[in-house]
């Protein structure tokens, strides 16, 4: 290991802005994207469930 202290690690030999800017952007986007994908999936599932409920209610009204 080449780091003597935590501060040295974060300083990245003077390249902190560039190194953390790169890894940070990757982390940010690669955390955000799965959340967006999951939301899209749960949105469509919810809307399908609502539609199904509406169909069932309609059927009940017709029968009564």
């Amino acid at each position: 290991m080449q780091w003597n202290s935590v501060g040295e690690f974060f300083a990245m030999g003077g390249y902190a802005l560039y190194v953390w800017g790169s890894f940070g952007a990757c982390a940010l986007l690669m955390i955000a994207e799965p959340f967006l994908a999951r939301r899209r999936l749960s949105d469509v599932r919810k809307s399908l469930a609502r539609e199904r409920l509406a169909d069932e209610l309609e059927l009940q009204q017709k029968n009564s």
Binding site: M1, Q2, W3, F9, M12, G13, G14, Y15, L17, Y18, V19, G21, S22, F23, A25, C26, L29, M30, E33, P34, A37, R38, R40, L41, D43, V44, R45, S47, L48, A49, E51, R52
Partner: protein
């Protein structure tokens, strides 16, 4: 299947990050700044590879008229665009301290930028056409025409005199980099790969449900 890909992505990612920051030595010329390559190279590889896979699905859909192919292509595009954007962003952050410029109109950089625009164009075109089947066809043609850009990116460092360095990993000769750096890069590439599969599969599930919502099986699938 999706959780397995997430698990693999996290395991490879943690291993790759550990090597990137704690095992790989400081570079003799570039100091610590070179560590950007541990995300830059995998993102660039994936941006090209995802495009090839996307074009493959798009072409398959066009040739065989299969429904899911178009959905696969549509699911891959945003992830590909994300990888291209990361490649350009991390490249700029590497270029500034090493070359003294955020951006140069170099063959490699310009062709990667075109790749990014191809992804955006593909997504915009699909979004602009209401009928999903026609959107698939139009998108497929765009994706297939854009394939010519991939070898241009890949070989740009050989064909032109560019500022971007040549590849350090070749199939026919030993890589010109330290073993630990190579391992770090390969692990990170695997992590990016698993991530892309997982997120694209998640998106394709949503797309299938959205598009097939009027079919009986979808109505029964959601209880």
């Amino acid at each position: 299947m999706i959780p397995w890909f997430w698990a693999a992505a996290i395991i490879f990612g943690v291993g790759g990050l550990w090597i990137s920051f704690f095992v790989a030595p400081t570079d003799a010329q570039q100091g610590e700044g070179y560590r950007i390559i541990f995300v830059h190279v995998p993102a660039s590889w994936m941006s090209m590879f995802i495009y090839l896979v996307m074009a493959f699905w798009a072409g398959l859909g066009l040739a065989l008229n299969t429904r899911v192919s178009g959905m696969m292509a549509q699911a891959l595009a945003p992830t590909g665009a994300l990888m291209a954007a990361l490649s350009l962003w991390t490249g700029a952050l590497w270029g500034k301290p090493m070359w003294g410029a955020w951006w140069v109109w170099d063959a490699r950089l310009t062709s990667e930028l075109i790749l990014f625009f191809l992804y955006l164009g593909f997504m915009a075109l699909q979004a602009a056409i209401d009928d999903p089947r026609r959107a698939d066809k139009a998108g497929a043609i765009l994706a297939l025409v854009g394939v010519v850009n991939i070898p241009i990116i890949y070989f740009s460092v050989k064909w032109w005199n560019t500022l971007h360095q040549g590849s350090t990993i070749n199939l026919n000769k030993a890589p010109s980099m330290a073993q630990t750096m190579l391992w770090g890069m390969l692990l990170m590439a695997l992590a990016f790969w698993m991530y892309s599969i997982a997120v694209a599969l998640m998106r394709v599930r949503a797309i299938i449900l959205e598009r097939e919502r009027h079919t009986e099986w979808v109505k029964h699938a959601v209880e």
